[in-house]
C-alpha cells in the first residue's frame, strides 16, 4: 500500500557525518546532486540542515521521485515523510492515520531525537504513539518482526512521521573527491568500475580507444550507450574517443606477437595519462581485475601501469567476475555490455599473449618504432562526445 500522502522527503547523510571539517562541502554537493537528478520535478523545495536534507514535495509524485533519488550517492537513507508541528498530540494522530494505510497486524515505533531539547525522551514518545494506536485500532505491538515500522524523527523545527527507510547506494556525493578518467572498452567490467568510482565521490570522464575500420560504429555506439547509462549518477559524461588504429597497426608491425597486448595497453595508459594531465584529472580508473586475462596478471598490470604518472585505481582488481556481473546487472549495463561487437582488445588478440612481461623487453620493443608521434596524434585527435541519459539515446523519440 503506497497511498499514504507524504508531504516531505527526509534525506539523512550517513557516512558523510563522519567527515568533520569537509562536511559542509559534502552536504552542499549532495544537495546539488539531488537537485540535479530531480530537476524535472520543478515544484520541489529544498532545505539543507545539519541533520539532513528536507525536501518539500508540493504535490510532486513521490513514487517516481523515490526511484530517481536512488541514483544519487552520498546519503545513508531517505524516507517519504509527513511533517507535523512539534506537538505530541499531532504526532499521535498522524501515526494513527498512517496505520490506516497499511494492512499491518503488528507495528513498532522508533523515535529518533535530533533535537535533544525536546521535552519527551524517545522512549516516552514511542510509548505515547504506541498507546494511542493500541487504543484506537486492532494492531498489536511486535518489537521483533513488525509488519509496520513507524519512524518518528524529532528535528529542529518539526517532527517527521515515516513508514519506510530507503537505503541508498551509500558512498560520497559524486564530484566531492574530484575527477577520474575511466578507461572504457565496452565490456562488462569498465562500466562497473565507473560506477564504483563515482560512488566514491569521483566524477568521471571516459576514454575509449577506437580502431575503425577494424571495429565497427556499433562498437562505439555501445560505448556511448554505456556511458549514457552511467551518466544518471552525474548528469552527463564526456567520452574521449581516441583514433587508435594507426598506433595499433604500428604495434602489430613492430612488436613480437606475445607482447602486442602488453605494449598496446602501455600505449593506452600513456595516452590516458596525457589527457588527464591536460584536463587536470587526478585519477585513472578502469576495470582491470587480477588474473582475468593475460594483461591483468600482477606482472602485466605492474609493467603496463608504469607508463602513467597519474594515480591508477582499479576498483575491480580484487573482485570475481560473477560479483562484477551482479553489479553490472544491478546498474543495468550488463545487457548492453554483452552485445557482440568487437573492441580494440579482442580484434587484435594474439594467440598466446605473454602473462609475465618484462619491462626491459617492453622498452626494447618500444624502441623499434617512433611511437611518440603516433601517441601525439591520438591525443591531438581526441574526439570528445558528451552524453546524457536525458537524451534518451535517440533522436527518434517521436517514432515511439
Amino acid at each position: 500500500m503506497d497511498s499514504l500522502k507524504y508531504d516531505h522527503i527526509v534525506v539523512r547523510y550517513g557516512e558523510l557525518s563522519t567527515k568533520g571539517k569537509n562536511r559542509k562541502e559534502f552536504t552542499k554537493m549532495l544537495t546539488h546532486n539531488i537537485k540535479r537528478r530531480l530537476k524535472d520535478y520543478d515544484k520541489l523545495t529544498y532545505n539543507t540542515l545539519h541533520d539532513g536534507l528536507f525536501i518539500k514535495l508540493n504535490d510532486e509524485d513521490y513514487s517516481s521521485i523515490k526511484k530517481d533519488l536512488q541514483d544519487v550517492f552520498g546519503y545513508s537513507y531517505f524516507s517519504g515523510a509527513v511533517r507535523v508541528k512539534k506537538d505530541i498530540e499531532e504526532v499521535k494522530n498522524e501515526s494513527l492515520l498512517l496505520t490506516k494505510n497499511h494492512n499491518a497486524k503488528t507495528f513498532k515505533v522508533a523515535t529518533k531525537r535530533h533535537d535533544k531539547q525536546f521535552p519527551m525522551s524517545s522512549d516516552e514518545i514511542n510509548r505515547a504513539i504506541a498507546g494511542n494506536i493500541l487504543h484506537n485500532s486492532d494492531l498489536r505491538v511486535d518489537v521483533h518482526n513488525p509488519d509496520l515500522m513507524i519512524y518518528v524523527s524529532v528535528d529542529k523545527d518539526f517532527i517527521y512521521v515515516m513508514d519506510e527507510k530507503i537505503r541508498g547506494n551509500g558512498g560520497y556525493p559524486t564530484g566531492v573527491n574530484g575527477m577520474a578518467m575511466l578507461m572504457m572498452s565496452g565490456g562488462i567490467d569498465s562500466p562497473v568500475a565507473g560506477y564504483m568510482t563515482m560512488k566514491r565521490g569521483l566524477k568521471i570522464e571516459c576514454i575509449h580507444f577506437a580502431s575503425q575500420p577494424y571495429t565497427s560504429k556499433q562498437a562505439l555506439d555501445k560505448v556511448l550507450a554505456l556511458a549514457r547509462i552511467l551518466s544518471v549518477y552525474q548528469e552527463e559524461i564526456l567520452v574521449h574517443v581516441i583514433p587508435f588504429t594507426d598506433l595499433q597497426l604500428a604495434i602489430y608491425k613492430n612488436v613480437d606477437e606475445p607482447y602486442c597486448i602488453t605494449i598496446m595497453r602501455r600505449m593506452m595508459y600513456r595516452i590516458a595519462d596525457e589527457i588527464c594531465k591536460k584536463r587536470k584529472i587526478k585519477v585513472i580508473t578502469n576495470g582491470e581485475s587480477i588474473g582475468q586475462v593475460a594483461s591483468q596478471t600482477p606482472e602485466s598490470i605492474s609493467v603496463i601501469g608504469k607508463t602513467a604518472d597519474t594515480l591508477i585505481l582499479r576498483p575491480l582488481s580484487m573482485m570475481d567476475k560473477l560479483e562484477i556481473i551482479d553489479i553490472a546487472k544491478k546498474i543495468d549495463t550488463y545487457e548492453t555490455s554483452i552485445l557482440p561487437y568487437e573492441d580494440c582488445c579482442t580484434i587484435f588478440a594474439p594467440k598466446s599473449p605473454i602473462t609475465k612481461p618484462k619491462e626491459d623487453k617492453c622498452i626494447y620493443y618500444e624502441s623499434l618504432f617512433n611511437y611518440n608521434e603516433l601517441v601525439r596524434n591520438c591525443i591531438d585527435n581526441d574526439e570528445i562526445i558528451k552524453v546524457s541519459y536525458r537524451d534518451g539515446g535517440s533522436e527518434n523519440e517521436s517514432l515511439f
Partner: protein
C-alpha cells in the same frame, strides 16, 4: 452515416501510427541486418521498439518476437513448440479458440499424431482451471487457452491456469491475448507463450508479436536467417515492427483513459437493447455484446448494412465457411440468430443510439 461496430474483427488505423509509418516509409528502405549505417539505424529503431514493447508487457526484450500478426504468432507458438518436443504427445486447448489456434491443434492431431483434449466452456462461457486440471496428464506438453473469447467476450482467468501449469513439470502454457490487449489487464508472469496482433488495437495489418519466454524452445516455421533470434526467418518487416511499440503504448494508455467512457457506452447499449433483443452474453469485456433477435442474423446483417451499420454474425475469420460455430454452439446459442456488436473509444454514444434506433426500425419492419 457509417457506424463501425465490428472492432473485434479489426480496427481503424490510428492517425498517429499512420503518420509515423508514412514518415518511416519516406526515409528508410535498408535491410535492418545490413552492417552499414543506414541498416544499423533501422536495426536500432526496431530493437528500441522491441525494448519498449517488452517494458509495456513486463517481459524481457529478447522475449518479444515480431510476427505478421496473431495467427502467425499462434501457429508459431503451438506448432513450433510441439514439433520441437515431439516426445510428449498430449495437448489441451478449448473448443472456442480462434481458428488459428484451433486449426493448429487440428493439424497436430491429424497430421502429426498428437492427442488433443478440447475443453468446452462452462455455462458462463469460461474455461475454468478445474477443467484444465481434470484434463492434465503427465505427458501433457501444452495447454492453450485464450484470455478473451473473440465472439462472446468471455474473460478467462488464464493467470491462475498459468500459475498452476507452472508447477506441472514439462507442460507449457500459451494464451492468445489478442482480444484482451488494450482492453483488460494481463499478467504474463507465468505465461510461457502469448500472441497478439496490431490491427485489433488500431495498428497495422500484418503486424503482431509472439511473447516467448526465454526457457521456451520453438522449432522455426519459417526457415531463414538470424532474424528474430533465428526463430522467424525472413527479412524483417522493420518499419512495421518499429511502429508496433507506439501502437501498443497508445492502446494501453487509452485503456485507462477511456475506461469510464466505455463503461458508460456499454450501459447505453445494453439499456437500449434489452427490450428488443436477447442478450446472449454480457459478462465479459465491456466493449463486446452478443445478441439475438427475431430475425436471422444474415438478414439482419444485410438490413443493418443498408443503414451503414457494420456488425458481424460470427467470427470474421469463419464468416465465409459453413461450419458449425464452435463458440456459440458450446454455449447453446443459436448461431443463426446471433450477432456480435463491438465498439471502442472511436465510437460515440450517438452512434450506439443510431444503431439501437435502426435496429428497432428493422425489427418493426421484418421482425
Amino acid at each position: 452515416m457509417k457506424v463501425y461496430l465490428d472492432n473485434v474483427s479489426t480496427t481503424s488505423l490510428s492517425q498517429e501510427v499512420r503518420k509515423t509509418y508514412e514518415e518511416l516509409l519516406e526515409e528508410y528502405y535498408c535491410n535492418s541486418d545490413a552492417l552499414y549505417d543506414d541498416g544499423v539505424a533501422i536495426y536500432n529503431m526496431q530493437e528500441k521498439s522491441r525494448k519498449l514493447i517488452s517494458n509495456l508487457l513486463n517481459v524481457n526484450s529478447e522475449e518479444v518476437i515480431f510476427t505478421s500478426g496473431a495467427s502467425e504468432a499462434n501457429s508459431l507458438a503451438i506448432k513450433g513448440l510441439c514439433l520441437k518436443h515431439p516426445d510428449k504427445k498430449h495437448l489441451i486447448t478449448s473448443y472456442y479458440e480462434h481458428s488459428s489456434v484451433y486449426n493448429s491443434f487440428k493439424q497436430l492431431e491429424e497430421e502429426f499424431g498428437f492427442e488433443v483434449t478440447y475443453l468446452k466452456p462452462d455455462t458462463d462461457g469460461h474455461i475454468t482451471i478445474d477443467k484444465v486440471k481434470e484434463a492434465l496428464r503427465d505427458d501433457t506438453l501444452l495447454v492453450s487457452i485464450m484470455k478473451v473469447n473473440n465472439e462472446i467476450g468471455a474473460i478467462n482467468d488464464v493467470e491462475a491456469i498459468a500459475e498452476y501449469i507452472k508447477k506441472h513439470p514439462g507442460t507449457y502454457f500459451h494464451s492468445d491475448i489478442t482480444q484482451a490487449i488494450g482492453k483488460i489487464d494481463i499478467d504474463l508472469h507465468n505465461i510461457d507463450l502469448a500472441s497478439f496482433s496490431a490491427h485489433k488495437i488500431h495498428g497495422l495489418k500484418g503486424s503482431g508479436a509472439l511473447i516467448r519466454k526465454r526457457h521456451v524452445e520453438l522449432l522455426p516455421l519459417i526457415s531463414g536467417g538470424q532474424q528474430e533470434f533465428s526463430i522467424r526467418g525472413g527479412t524483417s518487416n522493420s518499419l512495421v515492427n518499429i511502429v508496433l511499440a507506439k501502437t501498443l503504448r497508445i492502446a494501453l494508455e487509452n485503456k485507462e483513459k477511456y475506461h469510464d467512457q466505455l463503461n458508460e457506452m456499454h450501459d447505453v447499449l445494453v439499456d437500449g437493447l434489452k427490450d428488443i433483443a436477447t442478450i446472449n452474453y454480457d459478462s465479459g469485456i465491456k466493449t463486446l455484446i452478443n445478441i439475438s433477435t427475431s430475425i436471422q442474423s444474415e438478414v439482419l446483417l444485410n438490413a443493418l448494412n443498408k443503414y451503414g451499420i457494420m456488425v458481424s454474425s460470427k467470427s470474421t475469420c469463419g464468416s465465409r465457411k459453413n461450419e458449425l460455430n464452435r463458440t456459440l454452439s458450446s454455449l447453446n446459442i443459436d448461431e443463426n440468430y446471433a450477432i456480435r456488436v463491438s465498439f471502442d473509444y472511436t465510437n460515440t454514444k450517438e452512434e450506439l443510439n443510431y444503431f439501437i434506433d435502426s435496429l428497432k426500425e428493422i425489427l418493426d419492419k421484418y421482425g
